[in-house]
């Protein structure tokens, strides 16, 4: 019977005249219990499989399990589907599916006029409305006038569709998400097959649930067909993507995989030491699940123990990695000084979140930059990198390990709450070849000096156990030659200089900074770092399409800054720095290169929208001479 329906569906498939879209932004929203994220995941999958480009972002509620129907219990998922490369999840949803009043309430502010709002009237009873904090029914008091509203009895129809599959009423209700998914898939002309296949796997051992969810999926899809005139039908073409095998990946996954691949290419064991904190904990959880790859994970008693254990692991000849978020990074400050003083490799990942203090743990921000670069006692330089996109996290995690291991320095890698959870298609890299940057530990006894430096100012890495090289290291100042404790004034000056030069030397080995778009001499340059890459890229692209003379410079190396950055920046008439903080990158650029950079701050816990950046660009170029 199911098959028959599908059959009909397939049959009806060709029929509707679908409006061709270049892109669409869909947001699913409901109670934590409504299975929003699952539906989102499946929508992503079938969109990807149909050849579109996309980016997604799940928006979890701050509370673990807030009471049903409350605004703070709302869970959302947004996807941007396009027939061209996209770099953001989309400024505002074209379509919102709101499973209950709370979901509508929470998302209303984000809706552009004319957006399509799909509601389940069955959930708009008095109690739900009150819970959501609606004085009156928004469907009646004109609240929804600016939008196109589609009221569909999703709950009721799901119940009907799942009747006879043998599931309980509660279980039937839980199928709503797949009913809605079916409808969306029909609306945007995406294939159901992969979802069906996923359901088969997921509920292999629960035939009733399988049948019920499958029925809901098909029913939703069918509903689209049969109510064609009511439900708009669109289609989106394939995007031009480089050939290869693809999957979707979010920032956390990419970081975890990058660390593993980086360690392998350095020929080092990965010892990952961390203390749980939102949003960084996700990385620990992924790596803890990959012990079969030889990953050692250690959940310490606090952040200080975590970084100290990582330092110990590096001292012992593995690559010690620790990850945290703002408050945890603050706690690691003293130990980072020890890593700098002892000149040991170390990778520190900071998944930035909104501060100060506990702030808004689940919201994104870029406000740890100056802490990363300058926030330590003493003159204590280390390397700071920032990932630009979810998949870039893979590349930079590898890079962090390479730099740490080959320059004997701590490397701080900045991610943020947005990158951590945002997902995008990722072309699988070639793996498993011979190590690309293998580490050679020092073993020569002749003339061994623990702090003797090579041409790049790098001291030898000696693994305990190496015969004849037993030596002592310390956080006290050490003699430039012997490494013994030294209070000699000239020696301290020399060592301070050497630590500085060693870190600066990292920049020498790196390619020069280029422009992502536009080039030197542009009237305006947007300079960014980290997750602002997406919106800045799309905004600059749009502005340039409108003929505006604007360039894009995106920094992945924050310290040391690229060799040629000063020269490059000095060619621009004007420099605008969009950053999710009060102007920290701006301060860094001004201090280092004395350029009149101007900050464009956004500290709402949310990414920039392309639109607000385009407006900012236009404003600058109009009032510019």
């Amino acid at each position: 019977m199911l098959d028959l329906e599908v059959g009909r569906a397939e049959a009806g498939r060709a029929a509707p005249a679908r409006t061709r879209l270049t892109s669409v932004v869909v947001r699913l929203s409901g109670d934590s219990g409504d299975g929003i994220q699952v539906a989102g995941g499946q929508l992503t999958l079938s969109a990807a499989l149909s050849g579109a480009d996309l980016e997604t972002f799940p928006d979890f509620p701050a509370e673990i399990r807030a009471p049903a129907g409350t605004t703070f219990g709302v869970s959302s998922f947004q996807i941007h589907i396009a027939d061209h490369r996209v770099h953001t999840v989309g400024d505002r949803p074209d379509v919102l599916v709101a499973f209950n009043p709370a979901a509508l309430k929470v998302n209303l502010p984000d809706l552009p006029p004319g957006a399509l709002v799909i509601l389940d009237p069955g959930s708009f009873r008095k109690r739900e409305l009150e819970r959501a904090g609606f004085a009156a029914d928004p469907r009646e008091d004109g609240t929804l006038r600016p939008f196109r509203v589609l009221e569909i009895e999703i709950g009721e129809l799901t119940r009907k569709a799942t009747a006879g599959t043998g599931v309980s009423a509660r279980e039937a209700g839980r199928c709503k998400n797949f009913w809605a998914l079916g409808l969306i898939l029909w609306m945007y002309d995406r294939d159901r097959a992969p979802v069906a296949a996923w359901l088969e796997r997921r509920f292999a051992r629960e035939p009733e649930l399988l049948a019920a969810n499958r029925a809901a999926l098909d029913a939703g899809h069918l509903f689209g067909e049969v109510s064609e005139l009511l439900v708009p039908a669109f289609t989106i073409g394939r995007a031009q993507l480089p050939p290869g095998t693809w999957r979707t990946v979010n920032g956390h996954e990419a970081l975890a995989y990058g660390l593993i691949d980086g360690a392998r290419n350095a020929g080092l064991d990965l010892v990952y030491c961390s203390y749980p904190i939102t949003p960084a904990s996700g990385i620990l959880q992924i790596l803890a699940g990959l012990r079969a790859l030889g990953v050692t994970t250690f959940q310490a008693e606090d952040e200080i123990a975590a970084v100290c254990a990582a330092i110990g692991a590096s001292y012992a000849g593995a690559i010690g990695v620790t990850a945290t978020s703002g408050p945890g990074l603050a706690l690691k400050t003293e130990a980072l000084g020890l890593a700098v003083a002892t000149e040991l490799p170390l990778v520190v990942i900071d998944v930035q979140r909104a501060g100060p203090s506990t702030g808004m743990p689940t919201k994104t921000e870029q406000s740890d930059l100056l802490q990363a670069v300058w926030g330590r006692n003493g003159d204590t330089p280390l390397v700071v990198l920032a990932a630009a996109s979810p998949s870039d996290c893979f590349t930079l995690a590898r890079e962090a390990i390479r730099i740490a291991a080959h320059h004997m320095t701590p490397v701080m890698l900045l991610s943020d709450g947005f990158l951590a959870n945002a997902a995008e298609p990722w072309r699988l890299p070639e793996l498993g070849g011979p190590p690309e940057f293998p580490v050679r530990f020092h073993g020569r006894r002749e003339g061994f000096r623990p702090y003797a430096r090579d041409a790049r100012g790098v001291r030898p890495w000696v693994r305990p156990g190496t015969p004849g090289l037993a030596h002592r290291i310390s956080g006290l100042e050490r003699d430039f030659e012997t490494g013994a404790i030294s209070y000699d004034p000239a020696n301290h000056a020399r060592m301070t200089e050497a630590r500085w030069a060693k870190v600066q030397a990292v920049a020498r080995a790196l390619p020069e900074q280029a422009c992502e778009q536009g080039g030197p001499g542009a009237r305006l340059a947007l300079v960014g770092f980290g997750s602002t890459y997406g919106p800045i890229t799309d905004a600059v692209g749009r502005a340039r399409a409108r003929g505006l003379d604007v360039a894009q410079v995106h920094l992945r190396h924050l310290w040391p800054l690229p060799r040629n950055l000063g020269a490059l920046l000095s060619t621009f008439e004007r420099i605008l720095v969009p950053e999710m903080n009060k102007g920290q990158l701006t301060a860094l650029l001004r201090a280092e290169h004395l350029v009149p950079a101007e900050p464009l701050s956004k500290v709402t816990g949310r990414p920039f929208t392309v639109e607000e950046l385009v407006r900012a660009i236009e404003a600058r170029l109009e009032d510019a001479p």
């Binding site: 392998r264 990965l270 079969a292 990953v295 100290c308 110990g312 012992a316 290291i473 310390s474």
Partner: protein, 354 residues
């Protein structure tokens, strides 16, 4: 060969770990000039450690001393082994990382009472509960020596120090009690000047498969001279200490007194040994495997005799880092030859044609 193969094989020793050559205690001394105050108890402890290392035929190249900051924490500089003089209070955490990466290394942690029981409390407790296989020495001098004489968590109530000119108000911590409560499975107490006993304790501690804690009463001649005089003075030691030996009665005062289970309550009481001998007097026999007994012994403070020796040695000991390695090996066995590439492809993938 799995792409991951190199990983976790690296700790392979650079040379066959054959029984290393015998060494003299002095062979474990580094070339660094020892800079403790003349008369400091740390000198005696350093000597005892060198003796223990010699007795253990420890290989200096596979031995690592880790410390925090303090006079006691200067230890690594004075030994010809690998050494990591870290930051205040964090030595157990650094050492844990070393063991996680290199279970093959022999790790010793040395710190003072401030290092280990003030700023380092949390790390000490958790290293012990995890049972990371290392020896932890707390050089307890009941003072902050290096910072010139402020009160420490073990300074007795009423003591006037640089930071407590009117006397300490808070009650001191008992390192052995804290260790036992943390779940430590080897706990011992020694005294700097007992050059016969101390090296033995260190050898025992080293033999223990998990985390082994040894509290050493150490005299700071400058800022807390005689802090433990009521326990360690030759004049009183016979009465003020009970030397623990597994399977032997808890006797002191040259056998004239002993400790027995209290009659009226749960605990130990002091008894004079009558003509009938210690058995008749009901003196308890020390069972170092009995944690409950260890807790009662650890708690003893003057005027009761202070317990010296091995308070607790749990035969059921294990080591954290080996358990972690075991999990990794099991996981490997379950998914032989798994590599990152396969992990990446666990997710639903799709192909874009060229």
């Amino acid at each position: 060969m799995s792409a991951q193969a190199p990983v976790l094989q690296s700790p392979a020793p650079e040379r066959p770990a054959l029984q290393p050559a015998a060494r003299q205690p002095k062979d474990y001394a580094s070339d660094q000039e020892v800079r403790w105050c003349p008369g400091c108890g740390d000198y005696a402890i350093l000597k005892a450690v060198e003796r223990a290392l010699a007795e253990l035929r420890a290989d200096p190249d596979r031995t690592v001393f880790v410390s925090g900051i303090g006079c006691a924490a200067r230890f690594p500089h004075y030994l010809a082994t690998y050494g990591f003089h870290g930051i205040h209070g964090r030595a157990p955490a650094i050492a844990t990382g070393i063991k996680l990466a290199r279970p093959d290394l022999d790790v010793w942690v040395v710190g003072g009472d401030g290092d280990m029981l003030a700023i380092g409390t949390g790390h000490l407790v958790h290293a012990l509960r995890r049972d990371v296989d290392m020896v932890i020495l707390i050089l307890n001098n009941a003072i902050y020596g290096l910072t010139k004489g402020q009160a420490s968590p073990t300074t007795p109530v009423g003591t006037r120090t640089a930071s407590t000119p009117l006397g300490v108000v808070e009650r001191p911590l008992n390192a052995c009690e804290v260790a036992l409560a943390a779940g430590a499975r080897f706990v011992a107490r020694g005294i700097d000047v007992q050059q016969k006993v101390l090296p033995e304790l260190l050898v025992r501690a080293h033999a223990h498969p998990g985390a082994a804690l040894v509290e050493i009463l150490q005299n700071c001649v400058i800022y807390a001279d005689g802090a433990f005089a009521d326990v360690t003075d030759k004049a009183v030691e016979a009465e003020a200490q009970v030397q623990l030996r597994h399977g032997e009665p808890l006797l002191l005062a040259h056998g004239r007194k002993g400790l027995r289970p209290a009659r009226d309550r749960l605990g130990l009481e002091l008894v004079e040994i009558g003509p009938g001998g210690w058995r008749e007097a009901g003196v308890a026999v020390h069972d170092e495997r009995d944690r409950a007994a260890a807790m009662l012994l650890a708690a003893l403070q003057p005027p009761m005799p202070v317990a010296v020796g091995v308070l607790f040695a749990d035969p059921a000991a294990a080591s954290y880092e080996r358990a972690v390695r075991a999990q990794i090996e099991e996981a490997r066995a379950r998914e032989p030859g798994l590599d990152l590439d396969r992990v990446l492809r666990r997710a639903r993938t799709w192909t874009v044609a060229g």
